[in-house]
Symmetry: C3
Subunit: 346 residues, 3 copies
């Protein structure tokens, strides 16, 4: 069984020990589930009450919590407790699953496909004609790589994910199960005999180091490209419509939806369940609060919330409106009484 | 063709006949689609107008509707019309589809996997190495059971569902098509060279008698377990993030999303499209109205609604605010007139 | 390389040339990405600023933009710029992917299934027993057609889509990847030993010319049918519950959810992320704005928005409420001052 002493942890994470440097733990747990053999962490003042109650053997804490009482346990003060705990986690992590190079006999790889070196292709995965798979990429069971699609190097395509024809992925892209890249964009025009489909002749182009969560869908462009740039991180069940462009290192949390041709800048954070209207621009570094509906373009650096989305001050004013109205009502009642008095005085 | 008389139905559901006990029907239909050969039901006063208009041959009704006029048809009064109609439905239901024990020659089962007795594994389903499948479980075409995953007894894993490595399912778990259990949790930390992935080294642990709707996703824990306890019922397209815990017999309706490390109690009902913030607790028996966004912990037994979610009284006050403000406006106008009169009087 | 002159485009789309009829382009692009060799379009006054800045060689414009300055480029004035541009797009579109008739040796087709003429069935697709597939239908890799399901003629079933047992599809139905048709409806009744599943014994019946976006789910009826009528167009990640009925030519944009037994009329448009309560009716031609939550029936022809959904006038009044209240507050302060004066005057 793996184990770590407080001294070893402190060295690993460049932290400062408060307590017993010889204390040894054999695993990790949340502060809630912890026992005296496990290492846990408390990252902010908000959770410092958990520091009092936890039974963890060793607790990693942020330096702003340094003066907290020890209650006989061992704390390790860190500059960035999240990064530090990630290192400890990695030490204790179970052996990663290895998918060794090779093509499973039950995989179906078209003879015209170009398969790089040391590629793993699992059972019942299908690589269609003229597709290209880069070196060291893993394609797990049931995944589908479409006609003429290109997957870069060291990618991970999870079970039952789908990359449709002609779409392209950079290197080190992680595609979780059930993802659909390159389904048709949604475009119909009312015609004399009903709705006429607008052909969706473009593709999806995914950069490198992108991660795409389970059952997310990214539609192919009407023409040209739907673009997901490098380092973008997308959570589960996100919907990205045709011709959207997402700038580098943006983060899209679960169940967001982005309508057609919207432009999302770099370093944007869309929290869970956000909706973005079509044909608008979200500037670099914008943060949108969860469940917001953004209906017009947002300048770089803004924080917006609510539906329709507005700035925090306006949102809070709206939120507090019932209380404000109650005060006005009281004021009006007081004025009414004053007036009655005045009338009586006349 | 199957048929049932009113007398037979009354005996089956322990109901009371109003009308012709010899009336025979040969099928079931909604009150809207019904004809004189079909059995239908009306469950509440809200729909009692349908009792007047329906052409159903026999109508199951709740006992609070007992005094309604018959219009020549046959009613059967039941204590619980939903349960009663379910029994009738079961009688008329088409033969259930049977998936006989056996492994389809086009299935791919790793030699190291442990397969129980009387298991069905369909074509192009994949059971990866060291996975374990309990007795009487059905795994349909295209489903994937990952490395070291454990599926209990009498489970039903629908086509193209995915259970990732090391995750565990109890007994009698129903997993609908396209479900993803055990995709990575969504965790990234800003680092000097961009976003750094936080390894997601835990698993998903599903209890027994759980049902999971189509295309729902449940992420594996950052470490430890994402836990879905016994008897939890989850609808389609629900998103459950890493390290969430859902208590026994809770119900999550379609398109809900639960952010990381949230704790959901027992017997909780989240209506459709609800969002729950990360790291908060939803107490036992809480009910959250559809589309609500819950941003802070909710005590047991509460009913909350809106975004941010609040109690019904506050929500209704907010909803009625435009009318309240209109009344205040009228009042202010009246006061203004009074003051004008006073000033004129001076 | 394909190319088109302004004269040829004008003839193709029945448009009027403003500028050089001999100008030749070799591709299409958005106004944003265009260069002097590409054709682009501007469809409304809202985007007419793009007409000034674009570097496109030829721009298709709507006739209400006809008087705009040319800046030396060539414009083609069209009656319906969307339809016109679609024609140009089609001309330049890459060769469509052809899936030739034939059953891939790695497909799994039950001997009892009835397969029409000129059907394509891809690798690892599974057609289960007693299923029927119409002439000229394409079933791509990993798709699953369940026991006794019927797929019409000239349908397109994308990779990893699922059609469950006994469900039926008309002709020319397009089913994108990851779609689930016929998962169980979500029905549970509290019983003495916990939640009891209500058997879902019905089917899904899809009309002709229906399109269903990636990862959308349509549940089978509790009994009878969940019905999607002809020409309905459904975007990605839409959730349609049991016993819902959707009328002809309605449009459901991404991430909508429709609860059980709701009736949606013909020609309805539900914008993105809309939620529709169970057991209500949405009349013909209704339009619901994005993210709205509709809790009661809506008469034909209405436009509704917000949660709970209301008419535009009420919605706008609610939206403007903070400003209205501010004005009332100022008014009250003025009245207070008046009263003070009156009191001083006494």
């Amino acid at each position: 069984m793996k184990s770590l002493s407080a001294a070893a942890i402190a060295e690993m994470v460049n932290g400062k020990i408060l307590g017993d440097e010889n204390k040894v733990c054999t695993g990790v747990a949340s502060v809630r589930d912890a026992n005296s053999d496990t290492i846990s962490f408390v990252g902010s003042k908000k959770y410092q009450h958990q520091l009092e109650s936890t039974t963890a053997g060793i607790v990693l804490i942020n330096k702003d919590l340094e003066k907290e009482p020890l209650n006989g346990r061992t704390f390790i003060v860190c500059d960035n407790v999240d990064l530090a705990f990630a290192q400890v986690l990695e030490f204790f992590a179970p052996e990663p699953i290895v998918y060794a190079p090779g093509i499973h006999p039950a995989a179906s790889v078209d003879p015209s496909a170009k398969i790089g070196k040391d590629v793993h292709i699992g059972a019942c995965a299908v690589v269609d004609r003229d597709a290209e798979i880069g070196d060291n990429t893993v394609i797990l069971p049931g995944a589908y790589i479409g006609v003429g699609a290109k997957v870069g190097k060291a990618c991970y395509i999870a079970p039952n994910a789908v990359v449709m024809f002609r779409c392209t992925l950079g290197d080190k892209v992680v595609v979780h199960p059930g993802v659909v890249i390159g389904g048709d964009g949604f475009g119909f025009i009312p015609g004399p005999q009903g709705l006429v489909k607008v052909p969706q002749t473009g593709i999806v182009e995914i950069g490198s180091d992108v991660e795409i969560g389970a059952n997310t869908t990214i539609d192919r462009a009407r023409f040209g490209k739907t673009r997901i740039k490098d380092n973008v991180k997308i959570d589960n069940q996100v919907m990205i419509a045709h011709n959207v462009e997402i700038g580098e290192s943006s983060i899209l949390v679960a169940q967001c939806g982005i309508a057609g041709s919207a432009q999302i800048g770099r370093g944007v954070i869309l929290a869970a369940k956000v909706g973005i209207n079509g044909h608008i621009s979200i500037g670099d570094g914008v943060q949108v609060a969860g469940t917001s509906g953004v209906v017009k373009s947002v300048p770089a650096g803004s924080i917006v919330m609510g539906t329709p989305a507005e700035g925090q001050r306006d949102f809070m004013a709206r939120l507090m409106l019932p209380k404000k109205v109650e005060k006005l009502q009281a004021k009006i009642e007081a004025l009414t009484a004053e007036i009655e008095k005045l009338k009586a005085g006349n």
